[in-house]
Symmetry: C2
Subunit: 609 residues, 2 copies
């Protein structure tokens, strides 16, 4: 079988059974429809790459990329209180370059100074994750235990083979891209539950979904649910941007239950530890927080080390100043102490820590534009040049690195962003937020940004950070998370098509064939969101037979353009190459026309057939 | 005052009053908030161009483009049974080149052979439009009475001045673009109710919304409501694609109540007259239908005259054949008779008819691709070359003309479409359907196509035909229409920004300023969809004071990046140019830092302030 280049949400058990119930087309085709969770086996029995295996009524199968984890495998019992099985544990221990250790002792402030306050939401879940006891793991001798280090040594790890199968490329291609710093494989040794995935312009465009509670709203349980919900619809990674209370505990629940890499912004938690007073932050508090999170298993961390003291004044005349939370925290610190950023000053030391756990850098763009007016300005590009320096330093320490990008950028200024980033950062993976192509549509910024995201991904961005309809207005709920993920999966796949990614078009072709042949069930099962496609169709034509009827609600039963096309196809598509537009062809059609007259000039047949 | 380059829905009377109710920011600013329907007066008292006048709490006003018609003017009494006032009547009669005449007698088949059948929906409305009696009007002597003819004669009509004010350009620019065939001003002499608007690449990108009942579903009343609803949210034109019964009557209701140009596909009604049997269509039936619709006031008509007999075989090997309904009807006719298309054969005669009413051509792309696989193929471009010929012929007869475009096109193949069309069709306005950039997301095709629409509009497309979430699945309901229009307004404005349209960014800047200064009410009133923006914000922070509170739900009350930016702005944004990144600047910041320390190292102030 081939793993088609494609995405689709895996459905829960109930939907799956519902979808497998025989219906009209089922009886016609005489085979089962719907889909099941399949696995592609690698060179060893413990490399099993999940796919969504869609069964078409034609008897053909289409395998789609699957980010949903064990939750969509009926044969796996999952329990949010136990967490997922440590898929990668044996691979990690077998390398023999890491060791368990007692780890950093927990502190009250880890959950925020006011962690005991009633609000912040512990409802229905105990605060402390009850799962199996575990000790953190780190490099045995301080040398990097990163996929980058292994790739440079010429090793193809099980993680690399796993993503090679997922991406339908040779493992050596994966190793080369990682070794060159053109791709990252985020895989903290303390997050063995993660299913390996890769981020790089040679591979499928990836999508990140942000979750996270704030002091104002949301609970631990909601965040865990948002994470599984986001991955079900196609999120490749999830960032926990919690800023409120229970920040450590929330992250523990999310990590132990996440099949995808988890990213964070350690600065947010560090700020909680000093009760929100940016100027009271210190390198020691920040470093301690990074270690705390690395031990938990955070796979990549956004570090705003590019926000340097001298750049802060460059934002003074902006329309919207500094909109990055991390960026403004560091700017506040720099101003308060009139010192260079402690993140910039201690960057090498930070590299050593990340290398010991294989935490990937996501170098944050703290000075990204927050409005169309501020796009591509001096502050933004000054920071980008610094991120280029830091990227080289990080790679020197064997730390995998990607670079974050904007933000708010009008269409005609988007390409300059990716071109400059690729040049300055030696083709390190670009990870952009949108960009939003206009500021005037609050409530629809998944769309204003989905436009920019598709374009910048076509031009080389490796991962897109989703934007939900609630951007600028509030925290996303479950529906917003789904809408954001689906919108960004569309942008990512449109880019895969435009990049001519091998096999990217197979998915579109399979769905278009089903559409042309009125195989409604196949259309639904192949759709990015089968539930919504089916629901919309049934609104207009609820009757079950309509799903196989040879017409649809747009044209009605009397006339159908698809039917006419099919008759043309029957007449001219018979194996021979289509006639060119020339007199011979025109002459040749005379005969066809007579055949046609014999059939009573009917280009479509009555519905009865 | 200036008419800002911008769009926003005008709100109904109730919302308006609700929005004008004083609230916290109102009391603070001591002025009225919200907006009102304003008019910009031209060189004569009867040229009054509507704008949505938004009152900011700063005291400043922003005027936004307004497509909503008299329905949003509290001082105008509208009655769907009487229709709108004939705004352009005096301008048309004053030209003295048209005359009233008895017109074509109505026939039973005008509403479809089964027009008396109970289904097809007449509920709550009488079938026949009860409005004022009117006789149709046409050219007095057969010479063209088109805006194109006037423009070529050097005349600046009231319609041209009206759109010049709307677009904030000189009337002469409007005349030149129309005279050159680079823009059209659809304005049938029998649709005096329409508020003039222009379609051309030098002007704001326009959006069309499709409505129309089918034999399967929907009613007259629903269609009239969809039309006013679509224009309220920003539709510049509306196409009535009805295919079921009561087709003539539905159109009459829509036209008499529409403040925007109405487009149709006459072939659909002609097909109803022969009970759906394509091969029974004749030039006479089609011609009679075009006259019937021209007398009613249809402003532009899609004519699939480019679907020529020799091109039909070129579609045989396609993945999705012919997906255009009009295209497949003509293909069926050509095959049935083995004759060249009667639309192509009689094109000159058709031009004479359209010129006598100033009906604008929308030359249909009957062979547009219906899937990613079929994009930019021989069949599509063969037809485009023919549309180029026909465009020249039409202009020779003084008929305004635009060209329709695809469809389904991956991002990397979009630019070729607009570049080729502009070259082949002498820069005639391009009017595209999307294009959809992937086939895999039924239920979300407003987004798959919004991406392509923004890009092709940036590159020169003049008008975008919206796609709703129901595309490929069913007929759009009220919510789908709104979602489609808003999505396409986003695409159109993103393109206006990328094209550097004069003043396009004013709207974004006004909203970004409001965002940066926490003027929530101003953000809502400036938003493309104020209702949704307000509702989303209130979901998380429902309390009225929150609308003026100096924080938002994303960061919570303790920490706010905007506040920090503002403090930086206060420190460095003081009239002087922002310091460059150099040692001088760094040194200069020492003093600033001390001031800062004096303020207790607070970069944000307690909420109390």
């Amino acid at each position: 079988m081939t793993t088609a280049d494609a995405r689709t949400p895996a459905s829960g058990r109930n939907e799956r059974n519902a979808r497998n119930a025989p219906d009209a087309s089922d009886r016609e085709a005489g085979k089962s429809i719907g889909w099941h969770k399949g696995y592609v086996r690698g060179s060893r029995p413990d490399i099993l790459v999940p796919v969504r295996q869609v069964h078409l009524t034609t008897g053909r199968d289409v395998a789609l990329y699957d980010t949903s984890g064990p939750y969509t495998d009926p044969s796996v019992e999952t329990d949010v209180r136990r967490g997922l099985a440590p898929l990668r544990e044996n691979w990690i221990t077998a390398r023999g370059d890491t060791e368990e250790y007692p780890g950093r002792p927990g502190r009250p402030e880890d959950d925020g100074l006011k962690h005991t306050a009633p609000r912040g939401g512990l409802r229905n879940l105990d605060a402390v994750f009850p799962g199996r006891p575990r000790q953190p793991r780190r490099s045995r001798d301080g040398r990097p235990v990163t996929q980058l280090a292994y790739a440079r040594r010429g090793e193809i790890t099980p993680e690399m083979e796993y993503v090679a199968i997922r991406e339908n490329v040779l493992p050596e291609v994966v190793r080369e891209e990682i070794a060159a710093g053109r791709a990252v494989l985020p895989a903290n040794v303390n997050h063995p539950e993660t299913e390996p995935m890769i981020i790089g312009k040679r591979f499928l465009v990836k999508v990140n979904a942000n979750i996270g509670n704030s002091a104002v709203t949301s609970s631990i349980e909601e965040e865990v649910d948002k994470m599984t919900w986001a991955t079900r619809w196609g999120a490749d990674t999830v960032m926990d941007l919690s800023t409120g209370r229970n920040i450590h505990t929330t992250r523990e629940w999310v990590l132990r239950n996440s099949p995808v890499p988890i990213g964070t912004v350690p600065l947010y938690q560090a700020l909680e530890k000093v009760d929100g007073r940016a100027e009271e932050l210190t390198w020691e508090i920040y470093k301690d927080t990074v270690i705390e999170q690395a031990e938990q298993g955070v796979d990549y961390m956004t570090v705003h080390a590019g926000v340097r003291l001298p750049y802060v004044p460059l934002t003074a005349r902006r329309k919207t100043g500094i909109v990055s939370r991390g960026g403004s925290i560091m700017a506040a610190w720099c101003l308060a102490h009139h010192k260079e950023s402690f993140l910039y000053e201690h960057f090498e030391e930070l590299c050593e820590i990340l290398a010991a756990y294989d935490v990937t850098y996501s170098l944050g763009d703290g000075l990204r534009p927050g409005s169309i007016a501020d796009a591509n300005d001096e502050a933004q590009f000054a920071e980008l040049r610094t991120l280029g320096e830091l990227n080289s330093v990080a790679k020197g320490f064997g730390v995998q690195t990607m670079i974050e990008g904007p933000g708010h950028v009008p269409m005609h200024k988007i390409k300059e962003n990716i071109d400059l980033q690729q040049e300055i950062c030696e083709e390190a993976p670009f990870y952009t937020l949108g960009p939003l192509t206009t500021d005037v549509a609050p409530g629809y910024d998944h769309i204003t940004s989905g436009i920019g995201a598709a374009m910048i991904a076509w031009w080389g961005t490796a991962m897109l950070c989703y934007v939900t309809p609630k951007e600028h207005l509030g925290l996303p709920n479950r529906d917003d998370v789904k809408t954001g993920v689906i919108t960004y999966r569309i942008a990512a796949h449109a880019a895969d098509l435009a990049k001519g990614h091998p096999g990217a078009q197979e998915w579109d072709d399979a769905l278009s064939d089903a559409r042309f042949e009125f195989r409604w069930e196949d259309q639904f099962n192949l759709a990015l969101d089968p539930d919504t496609a089916r629901e919309f169709h049934d609104e207009t034509l609820p009757a079950e037979p309509a799903k196989t009827a040879h017409f649809c609600s747009m044209c009605g039963p009397k006339f159908c353009s698809m039917k006419i096309s099919r008759s043309i196809n029957e007449k001219y598509g018979d194996g021979a190459a289509p006639p060119e537009y020339d007199e011979v062809a025109v002459a040749g059609m005379k005969a066809k026309s007579e055949e046609f007259a014999v059939r009573g000039n009917r280009v479509y047949l009555p519905l009865a057939d």
